[in-house]
């Protein structure tokens, strides 16, 4: 029993990271109807910032704001360079645009930084644990869960209560109509990318603390997990993204704990299969966004 609780908790810690990434993907999807494959590049960029700062003997407390800042700036820059030109284009066009950005950024890192891994030391405290009633809680998991909850609440409040949030949702629903109302849609969309960048930056801090290395493809796995989490939760739903992330994390941990040792390497393969099955039975994902089809 306590073993299961332990695994559920580990899963929540892992899943919170996915949830943060999924949340950023869901925000962009909501506004632009775009699955942003370039979202992972924000983590790649952050990884190199971490590496360089670390090599210059800066500590993690400085690295964290630097990472969040870099990710946000990169997110806005990518919008400016690429996505603004395909606004309102078909899903197909938008997705491939983000795919192109993904590779262009990766190529730039390969060409001008390094094609191989760069390692740095992880902060000491992340391996610390607290034991509560026989359950071993990793500090980093606790922090990740706490930050994710705060990020979700903050994002929800921002979207519901502020004029920026309402404008964002309006622009998401009908771009031209929002412009007719005087919403500065350019700014709103830039704002959405900024928000997604901040969320990606926060997620990046946790991803990077856990992996301890930078590479041109550092963002690939987190991206995939985030996209899948957003999809499981029903694309475009913010709470769905978080639930999808947590579900993904828990399923992974449970599989790792229960698969025979020889198969543990295939965990991801099994997870993908489960997701494919989920979509055979529930094509809309776990949470179907309630929207009547207007015909």
């Amino acid at each position: 029993m306590s073993e299961l609780i332990q695994q559920l908790f580990d899963g929540l810690g892992r899943g919170s990271e996915y949830a943060l990434i999924a949340l950023g993907i869901a925000v962009i999807f909501g506004v632009m109807h775009l699955v942003n494959f370039a979202h992972g590049e924000l983590i790649t960029v952050s990884a190199y910032v971490t590496y360089f700062m670390f090599n210059n003997d800066l500590n993690w407390w400085l690295i964290i704001p630097a990472v969040v800042l870099t990710a946000s700036a990169t997110s806005v820059a990518i919008e400016f360079v690429a996505f603004r030109w395909v606004r309102g284009a078909t899903d197909f066009t938008q997705m491939l645009t983000s795919f192109g950005v993904h590779f262009a950024v990766q190529a730039i890192f390969i060409m001008y930084v390094s094609a191989s891994f760069k390692s740095y030391d992880r902060p000491g405290w992340i391996a610390n644990t607290v034991t509560v009633g026989g359950i071993r809680l990793e500090v980093i998991d606790l922090v990740t869960i706490g930050v994710t909850v705060a990020a979700l609440l903050g994002t929800a409040a921002l979207l519901r209560r502020t004029m920026f949030g309402i404008s964002l949702r309006a622009a998401a629903a009908d771009f031209d109509a929002a412009r007719l109302m005087g919403v500065r849609s350019d700014r709103v969309i830039r704002g959405a990318f900024l928000l997604a960048g901040v969320l990606a930056g926060i997620a990046a801090v946790f991803v990077l603390m856990r992996t301890g290395r930078a590479s041109p493809t550092a963002g690939l796995t987190p991206l995939l997990k985030g996209v899948l989490a957003a999809l499981i939760g029903g694309l475009g739903s913010l709470s769905g993204a978080v639930i999808g992330g947590l579900a993904l994390g828990i399923v992974e941990v449970l599989l790792i704990a229960r698969l025979p040792a020889a198969w543990v390497g295939l965990t991801n393969g099994f997870v993908f299969m489960l997701i494919a099955l989920l979509f055979v039975f529930r094509p809309g994902g776990l949470i179907t966004v309630g929207k009547a089809e207007r015909v």
Binding site: G100, V101, L231, A276, G284, G285, V295
Partner: protein, 640 residues
């Protein structure tokens, strides 16, 4: 339906194209794709040979790789081009095929070194390359069909984006298995390799596979299923509403594309002599997708053009980044070709998302030129006033629909007669469009049932209901935008051949004439003005030869003169195809002019039914619908 009622004597004499000899039809169906594939094949192969004749083993192997890539890209075009669903998974399927091929084809001695513990006794067997390719196709298809089931359901219900993410998962899943299942795949680094001398030496297998792929792709593109897949690509709901099941065509397209990709991937492994997980992962996805996108995914010619353009471009960047060029070292360095591909994709998406050749095929170009020269306008089929419309009653009993707390329909009962035009009026929010949505399976009813004749339709899906003969139009026009006017109607007419009796049907051309859109027949639907688009939607619905036509505000956005013309067109088309009509509209002049019987809905319920005069005199109708207009005099009543 009685054939005499719709076939007019003069129609048999009209020299419409559909009456052209059957042999012509065969030339077009088979000869066109054959011609296109021969030309494309010749261009690729001759171009390649010419380049290779410049000498050097490197050139030779580049051409070989280009031809193999062409097979894989053509395979991707079959699915991505026809269905419009972006797939990252085809390279994942390629990985599955490549590994299957390798494990079957590699010699027992080689396997005893790398994968001596392969499961299922696979380390003990060795098949001929051809048999191994067949095995690769079979295994990939088996996996592909499972994925395809989820994919088509997802694409149909959650849209193409969700389907794309699933294909991405396929790509990653294939890689994860390849990296981690060491006993079978040789793991991440070593992979599987042939001994020297076992690899592909002659190009003939590639030629055969390439030509077969081109022909298959073009045959599919021009086939019934391919055209339906394209219609679904343009508008999913509209395709279902004229009777097509998108899942069927998407699955068929997926199967064919997997076969071609599996063959191409096997040849690629055979030619390279080895396989590791990174052979079929993101970089190869980038390469093949860029080829497809840059050339133009919707056309086979475009896909082939893309293969050539990107192969050349890629080679140039490789040369520049290589050791032979020393200058501009800050740009020309390793990674450049990835940058080239990424930027090409990015730029094309921004500047020319349809690719270099968005929509051009040799055979259809030649055919449309030929047709323009030989075609004559069919004589308009005269329908006389006594011609009956349909023959089966559409019955809706106690239909109730609730959305959350909102009651859209409350126990609505109607029985539109087949030989009449039935109107539905009512104030906004009365539930008129919801009723149409229920009757066409777009919105499920909370309770109640509906049927056509003795055929219960209550639990059927949209496309099944359309096939049973209840077909609708949409308030906010849903045409197949990139198809021409004629193709819109022709695609809708396709599923009629299911029913078998084709003798009494008006041809596509006659429908175009009857709807008054003959002159616009070769224009794209997305370029039409509003009135023409409305008439096209009507013609498209009629082309399915329905038992009942349900029209949702056919005159919305039209002026009085156009509405008046629409009155005649609705009746003419209904008689031409023999269908009863149910029509919703706000334009009282139109409704009273066209309808034999009118239902008035209010708050989800039928409050009155009768002829135009009865309805206009009905005090309840005046109260719920005409409101104050009835009291202070209608002023300029539109129905006078």
């Amino acid at each position: 339906m009685n054939p005499e009622t719709t076939v007019q004597p003069e129609r048999t004499m009209s020299p419409a194209l559909s009456k052209s000899p059957a042999s012509m039809e065969w030339v077009r169906r088979l000869g066109g794709p054959l011609l296109t594939s021969i030309v494309l094949f010749a261009a690729l192969v001759l171009g390649g040979l010419l380049y290779a004749s410049g000498g050097g083993g490197a050139r030779d192997s580049l051409v070989t790789q280009m031809l193999i890539n062409a097979i894989i890209v053509v395979g991707m075009q079959i699915y991505i081009g026809n269905t419009g669903v972006l797939s990252f998974g085809h390279v994942g399927f390629g990985a599955i095929a490549g590994y299957t091929f390798a494990i079957f084809a590699i010699s027992v001695e080689r396997k005893s070194v790398t994968v001596s513990d392969a499961p299922f006794g696979l380390s003990e067997i060795q098949w001929s390359p051809l048999a191994a390719i067949v095995a690769a196709v079979v295994v990939t298809l088996a996996i592909g069909l499972v994925v395809g089931l989820g994919l088509s359901r997802t694409a149909a219900q959650s849209g193409a984006i969700a389907a794309t993410v699933i294909t991405l998962a396929v790509l990653f899943m294939a890689r994860e298995v390849a990296v981690n299942w060491d006993e079978l795949t040789g793991g991440d680094r070593a992979g599987l390799s042939f001994g020297i001398g076992d690899t592909l030496e002659s190009r003939w297998p590639i030629y055969v596979a390439l030509f077969a792929s081109l022909l298959l792709a073009r045959l599919y593109g021009t086939s019934r299923s391919g055209r339906l897949a394209a219609a679904t690509r343009e508008d999913n709901l509209a395709a279902r509403a004229v009777g097509h099941n998108p899942a069927t065509h998407q699955t068929l397209a997926l199967v064919l594309s997997i076969v071609v990709v599996a063959v191409g991937a096997s040849l690629r492994v055979y030619e390279l002599g080895s396989i590791t997980p990174k052979f079929f992962f993101f970089e190869f996805t980038l390469l093949t997708l860029t080829m497809l996108i840059v050339g133009g995914r919707n056309s086979l010619t475009g896909a082939v053009l893309g293969v050539v353009v990107i192969t050349v471009g890629n080679e140039v960047t490789r040369y520049l980044a290589g050791p032979s060029v020393d200058s501009f070292e800050f740009v020309f360095r390793p990674g450049l070709s990835k940058l080239f591909l990424g930027l090409s994709m990015l730029l094309f998406m921004i500047v020319r998302p349809g690719g270099l050749l968005p929509d051009w095929e040799l055979d259809s170009w030649l055919f449309s030129r030929w047709r323009r020269r030989h075609e004559t306008k069919p004589v308009e089929a005269a329908t006389d006033e006594d011609t009956s419309l349909g023959s089966e009653v559409l019955k809706a009993e106690s239909i109730t629909v609730r959305f959350g707390g909102f009651q859209a329909l409350d126990d609505a009962t109607l029985d539109p007669q087949p030989d009449e035009v039935t109107g539905i009026i009512g104030p906004n929010g009365a539930g008129k469009t919801t009723l149409l949505n229920v009757l066409t399976g777009v919105v499920p009813s909370t309770s109640g049932r509906f049927s056509l004749g003795s055929n219960d339709l209550s639990s059927k899906q949209t496309h099944a209901i359309a096939r049973e003969g209840v077909v609708r139009t949409f308030q906010n026009l849903r045409l197949f935008g990139s198809l021409t006017v004629r193709e819109n109607v022709a695609v809708a007419a396709l599923h009629r051949s299911d029913s078998g009796d084709s003798g009494s049907q008006p041809s596509v051309e006659e429908l175009l004439v009857a709807a008054g859109i003959w002159d616009d027949r070769d224009r794209r639907a997305s370029e039409l003005d509003y009135g023409t688009a409305r008439r096209l939607e009507l013609a498209r619905a009629a082309a399915t030869r329905p038992a009942f036509l349900l029209l949702d505000e056919p005159t919305s956005g039209m002026n009085e003169a156009e509405s008046l013309a629409m009155t005649a067109q609705v009746r003419d088309l209904a008689r031409l195809v023999g269908a009863g009509v149910v029509v919703i509209d706000h334009d009282l002049g139109f409704i009273t002019g066209v309808c034999d019987r009118i239902y008035c809905l209010a708050q989800g319920t039928v409050v009155a039914v009768g002829t135009a005069d009865e309805i206009q005199a009905d005090p309840i109708v005046r109260e719920v619908y005409l409101g104050s207009v009835a009291d202070d005099g209608p002023g300029e009543p539109r129905d006078s």
